[in-house]
């Protein structure tokens, strides 16, 4: 993939979308999930996609991840236009540029933590001793060096999600897309996961895009993109959100929303 991208505010632009729309058709029925979405995602930032259920967040994430095709619009990833690529080329884009983190973890229960991460390398053609070394480093990166040989049923929710993040990092993708990664986690685990994702963005220069309903993560986002009825209605940058709070029960977190967000929730 080409690495030359448009620069803005010193951060490299990794995702550029213009006029993205998505219409789902079933028989004679049509449902417009996205309408004319423009966005730019930069390297080194944690971008939150928020909105009520059915607002198109996951659809947008799927399109950014080259899992779904937009019905209209243009999408560039790392300077390469992917919206018109043939279907058969999309797996390559996902292998080279994107790591996914899912709400349900989507780990393979028959494989240990180490093997789950190794599988992601295997998909990318990396095997043998070098792959094993990379696998161990990835698990150490997420703090699971002592749980490499554990199987998913023996891991806590937070540990599973960290294995999933390590797997998403296989191949060193510049873009991480996370779909509600903290939804199934308690506050402690959720906080450790979101801190990890933030660190991966800030310290490792990745573009992290996260779909979330979780108000606890507001303070971690560098940008918040708000979707309603398939349209991008609001965009806020770091200065406009509440500062990150270290010890915050859910009730207190809700009380600290901005006026607008409180009205929403």
């Amino acid at each position: 993939m080409p690495t030359e991208t448009t620069k803005q505010s010193g951060a490299t632009l990794v995702i550029r979308a213009r006029g993205l729309s998505k219409i789902f058709r079933e028989g004679t029925n049509e449902f417009r999930a996205l309408s004319d979405v423009d966005l730019d995602i930069h390297q080194g930032q944690l971008t939150l996609l928020m909105g009520p259920s059915g607002s198109g967040k996951t659809t947008l994430l799927s399109i950014l991840g080259c899992i779904l095709r937009a019905s209209a619009g243009r999408l560039e990833l790392l300077g390469e236009e992917v919206s018109t690529l043939p279907e058969k080329d999309l797996p390559r884009i996902r292998r080279e540029a994107i790591g996914f983190v899912f709400q349900g973890f989507n780990l393979f229960p028959a494989l240990s933590a180490l093997e789950n991460v190794a599988l992601a390398l295997d998909v990318r053609g990396l095997r043998g001793a070098k792959a094993r070394q990379m696998t161990e480093e990835l698990l150490a990166e997420v703090g699971l060096q002592d749980r490499m040989h554990a199987f998913p049923p023996d891991l806590s929710g937070g540990q599973k999600q960290r294995v999933a993040i390590a797997r998403a990092l296989a191949g060193n993708p510049p873009i991480l897309l996370a779909d509600e990664p903290t939804a199934a986690l308690d506050s402690t685990s959720g906080r450790s996961v979101i801190e990890l994702l933030q660190r991966l963005g800030h310290q490792h220069g990745r573009a992290v895009v996260m779909v979330t309903h979780d108000p606890r993560v507001l303070g971690y986002g560098d940008r918040i993109l708000r979707l309603e009825d398939g349209r991008l209605t609001r965009e806020e940058s770091r200065g406009q959100v509440q500062p990150r709070v270290q010890h915050f029960p859910a009730a207190q977190a809700a009380a600290n929303f901005t006026e607008d967000f409180r009205a929403e929730f």
Binding site: Q103, N106, F108, A110, L111, L119
Partner: protein, 376 residues
Amino acid sequence: MALLARRNLFHDRIRFAVTLTGIVFALVLIIVQFGLFLGFTTTTSNNIDRSNADLWVVFHGVGYFDTGRMFAERKYYEVLATPGVGQAEKYIQNFALWKKPEGGVENIQVIGFRPGGGMGEPWNVVQGNLADIKLEDGVIIDDLYKEKLGVSKIGDRVEIGDHRARVVGFTHGIRSFTTSPFVYTSFKNALNYTRPQAREDQLTYILVKTAPGFSARKVQKNLRARVADVDVYTRQEFSERTRFYWMFTTGAGLAVLTAALMGLVVGIAVVAQTIYAATMDHIREYGTLKAMGATNAYLYRVLIEQAVWSAVLGYGFALDVAHFVVQGSEKGGALILMPLSMKIGMFFLAIFMCIAAALVSINKVTRLDPAMVFKG
């Protein structure tokens, strides 16, 4: 990829056991059905295949072994005088009534041959001595029919027709396709046992061995030219005619073959269903693999490797079960054969069935919408 294929198979032991059971059932069903078919066809022509003769001379128009017609003994001498004939033996095949020692009668097929002639003899004599056939009234039967014929040991005396007979030996594994067991005896005894159908100067078949340097085809041609009112077949030809008659003209074999083909269809359906179900159990994982950027070829390899593992393990178990069934059939009336060629064929069939079943799943998996992994 190899690890994922194996692990997914063995991870859920109950699911794996169900999958294997489906494959084993399908393979055993096919093996038994085809084995029965082979057993039947072999049984119909055993006496011809084991005759040690190169050619069979039969009364003109006789189509298969069990309906031999008596014809003049002088044909035997004409055969002997034909160029290329190295040895010829007279042979009787005819039906008779066997009177059991404790009462009751059974239909039998009397097979008469010249003891020591080396052609048309029974094989696999497990009790007694083949040479004792020379003794007056000596008969050999198969141990499968001891109970049916009311005898249990060597020396037991019975009546065939109105003549005495004495059991001098038992074979093992010589079945009759009809309900009439074979009873082997000397040519002379056979004539006695099958009167009045058989006359002193008659025989049913002439078995021929070619002389060195003469092919069966050449001698067949010579015999056809020189001996009138007979048909001359090579051993293989007569065997095939007999098999064809029983298997297809009577419809008996067709029924077994149809059952065998049905077994194949059912087997494939069972394997397809079990492997499809096992794949659907892991559909979310395949979706995740697609989301991770796995190509369709990668998914094919995982599925096919799982199919091959299932096939190999299923084949192994199926062979054990089939051996058990085959051994059981040896004591019964219907023989199930499982020659090495069938075992090898079944292995490749197992691989084919499992891969074909996996291909049904492959279509589902490659058309899978990877966005499904985002659904909780």
